[in-house]
């Protein structure tokens, strides 16, 4: 079945550590890719998205993601995390329709 896979369900890091959250999808052809974030007590909101152009996409709060078509991946990175990055992160894929498929999410906890 076509899907979006997030490799880590839980990640614990210390402040200033580097972050990489994996996301792989199983859809062929053209895809639109998203990372959404949900901070504690808040609603899901867009972190960044990619649909064309430079495969290295920069988002809010110092996050970036790289689209590697040959690996069907769209990993999220941040060079130095802060305590305020504690949140749940969702990767999502859209193939040019109304339907967006979400991954199961990765819960990040950053120790102060």
């Amino acid at each position: 079945a076509q899907s979006v896979s997030q490799h880590n369900h839980h990640v614990i890091l210390s402040e200033a550590a580097s972050l990489e959250l994996g996301c792989n999808y199983s859809y062929g052809g053209t895809v639109n890719l998203f990372w959404y974030v949900q901070y504690p007590g808040q609603h899901l909101q867009l972190l960044l998205k990619y649909f064309s152009g430079d495969p290295l996409v920069k988002g809010i709060k110092g996050f970036e993601a790289e689209f590697i078509k040959s690996k069907f991946s769209f990993n999220l990175r941040k060079p130095s995390v802060q305590w305020s990055d504690t949140a749940e992160y969702f990767c999502a894929v859209n193939k040019g329709s109304f339907k967006t498929i979400f991954g199961a999410g990765t819960r990040l906890f950053v120790k102060a």
Partner: protein, 115 residues
Amino acid sequence: DAMVIQNPRYQVTQFGKPVTLSCSQTLNHNVMYWYQQKSSQAPKLLFHYYDKDFNNEADTPDNFQSRRPNTSLCFLDIRSPGLGDAAMYLCATSRDPSGGTDTQYFGPGTRLTVL
């Protein structure tokens, strides 16, 4: 601030007792979505409205219905909730997702408990 509002935030119902969740938006977006999210799982699209056009996902149970009386308001009706319907229900909007690149704007969700 323009936003997506869901009421109630928490809903408790009894097995088999109909329940309605509501979502309103001030973004004036054309599309409204309902997702079901169970614990530690991905949000799963149930259906969406594009203006007045209702689009049901193929695997959405008949037990789930939706109404959109106007652009800013949308309801999720669960006719006979079962224990397996306990979940977080998320409402989202987007302006025009026909190309698949649109950002979705989410409400805070309604957590449904079925006793």
